[in-house]
Structure formats: C-alpha cells, structure tokens
Symmetry: C2
Subunit: 194 residues, 2 copies
C-alpha cells in the first residue's frame, strides 16, 4: 500500500494490528473509527484510504486468525497419520498459532455474534471445534484415548485450555512457544497426576 | 427492595442479572444505562432507584463471581486434606460455580482493567489464580503430581480450561454440573490418553 506523505507511515497491516489491540482493550463495539484515528494519529479520512469500514478491519482480523487455524487443520489432514497423532499435531499447531498471533485470536475468541461478519467467523470457528471433536472421537475409536470421556466436551475443554493462553502468554517472555506446547501436550494427553 | 407500582416488578437482583447478560452480549463499555433502561422497559430514573451507577452494577456482578470463587478456596482450606485432595476440591468446586453462575463469571473473565473497579476485581482474580498455582506446586512437592510441568503454567491452563465452560455450558442441558466436573477431573488429573 502507498503511504501518505507527512503522515505516520502506516500501511493496512499496521492499522489492522493496532485496531485489533484497541478492540481487545476496549471492546469492538465500544471502539469507534474516531478512537482509532486518535490512537493512530491520523485523520479518519486517512484511515479510510486504507480500509473501507470498522467491519472491514474485524473481517480481516478474524480471517487472519481463522486462516491460521485452517492451516493447522490442513497440516493434520496432509499427515495421513493416526487420529491420535493428528490430534498431537493439532494441539501443538494450535498452541503455536495462539502464541504467535495472540491478539488476533483473542479478538476471534471474544466474538459475540452481533453482526453478519461475527456470525460468519463464529461459524468457521465452530467448524474448527467440530474437527477437533471428531479427531478426539476417532482417536477414542482407535483405542488410543479414554472412551469414557465425552468427545464433544473433551474437545471443547481442550480448545478452551489452549485459547486461555492468550490471557497470559507473552511472546519473548520466560517460555517460548515450543515449551508451552510441551506443557499443553503433557496436560492434555497424560494429565497432571503421577 | 421495594418495587415501584405500575412498573415491571424488578428488584436490584433482577436488574443486575439482566444487566450482566447485556454486558456479556455487547461489551460493558458499549452498553449504556439508556440501553439497559430500554431492555428492562424502565425509565433511567427508575433504574437509579435501585442502583447508583453502571459501575455499581459491574462491582456487584464481579463481587458475586469472586465471592463464589472465595468460598471454594475456603472449602479447600477448611478440609485440611493433602494438597492433591484440596486441588480436587478446587477443580470440582470451581467447575460447579461456573456452571451455576456462568454469566457472572463470564463478565469477570472478560474484564480488561479499564477502571478502578475492574483493576480491583482483576487483583482478586489473580489471588485465586495464585492459590491454584500454589496448590499445584504443593501437590508436586507431595509427589502426587508431575514435577516436570511448570506449576504457574499448569495452574493457568487448568483455570483457563474450566473458565472456557462459560462459552458452551447450558444449565439444564444434556450434562449436569456433576457430570461436567467428572470430565474436567479426568482431563486435569489423568489426561485423555489411555
């Protein structure tokens, strides 16, 4: 994208990143384009040079998070491994995606379904949950996972655990994404008890 | 509380419950007292008969959720059992609290720290997390839990998993709170793998 002369050099990607931070800090509905303009130090018309609407930002941001999740699912499918092995790939891949793009995923997780864009994103998120649940059920069928645990509940709790990373994980902090994925894997598959 | 004649018979508790639903659906900051008045079918002054401000509602709602968590901690402490047994009590009690009062806990979970009230609630929530983490560490010291898992991360993931129940658990649905607690306990302590 071209950058306007004499204005802070934001491209569409920068505006998206900063908008998502603001949405997460104050809520999507409570954040106006005027608020974004203030934070960016731009006029509203300068922002509209890059994006068409607040909803355009929401759509791009949730697409980004959902595309990350989709690529983890694609990796699972391409592996042609057993269900339990694909579940391991999914758990590690989802953890890595959340650690890498916590802000985008936070926005996705907090969607409430108040517009068409939100409802469409929630539907795609549900597809991901369904894939995860089907993988748990398939691995139970293989005899690799406990069959007494309801697969729909287990899948949702597992995704909820991983999603909660966005609340505290700091990239570049004490633990890298691989170390977090190791802990998540132990907790999901082996549990805490000795 | 007295109920105004000729107006829908809301008491403070009803107003609080409905306000929390609105906050969760549209975001606390995006919900005005005017919005609440519309949903309740009351004038703003009729609402102010019961509550002093929007922040008053937020404080009461988060207090309610935090008091529930505090009572689970108190139950653990009174038991004088081993750390692993107290952790079981905490996991079951927190799950039951969330299933019973999902809306209040959802509000608590989504706080962002944008005001004194929110910061105070976040500090109390952090105390709960610290208690949970210390219990995991103590149970590791007893040799009852895997010591290779970082207690701070395990405690947070565990709380995150339980918190995620508010996203999908429906009271009176297919599973009661006890059945959900059984699944959470298996996942946390034994893991999914056979």
């Amino acid at each position: 994208m071209t950058v306007k002369q004499g204005r802070p050099g934001y491209n569409r990607e920068d505006i998206l990143r900063i908008a998502v931070q603001e949405f997460n800090a104050h809520g999507y509905e409570a954040t106006s384009m005027g608020d974004l303009a203030k934070v960016l130090g731009l006029s509203k018309s300068a922002i509209y040079h890059h994006i068409s609407s607040k909803e355009d930002l929401l759509k791009s941001a949730t697409d980004k998070a959902l595309t990350l999740l989709d690529s983890v699912v694609a990796e699972c499918e391409e592996s042609e491994a057993s269900a339990i092995e694909r579940l391991h790939i999914l758990v590690r891949g989802t953890t890595a995606a959340l650690c890498a793009e916590a802000q985008y995923v936070t926005l996705l997780i907090r969607l409430r379904g108040n517009s068409e864009v939100e409802l469409a994103a929630l539907a795609r998120r549900r597809e991901f949950t369904n894939y995860l649940v089907s993988l748990v059920a398939e691995a139970q069928g293989e005899g690799a996972l406990r069959s007494e645990v309801d697969s729909a509940v287990a899948g949702r709790l597992l995704f909820g655990m991983i999603n909660s990373l966005v609340e505290w994980y700091v990239p570049g902090g004490r633990l890298d994404s691989d170390q977090v994925a190791n802990i998540v894997e132990v907790m999901v598959f082996k549990g805490l008890q000795l």
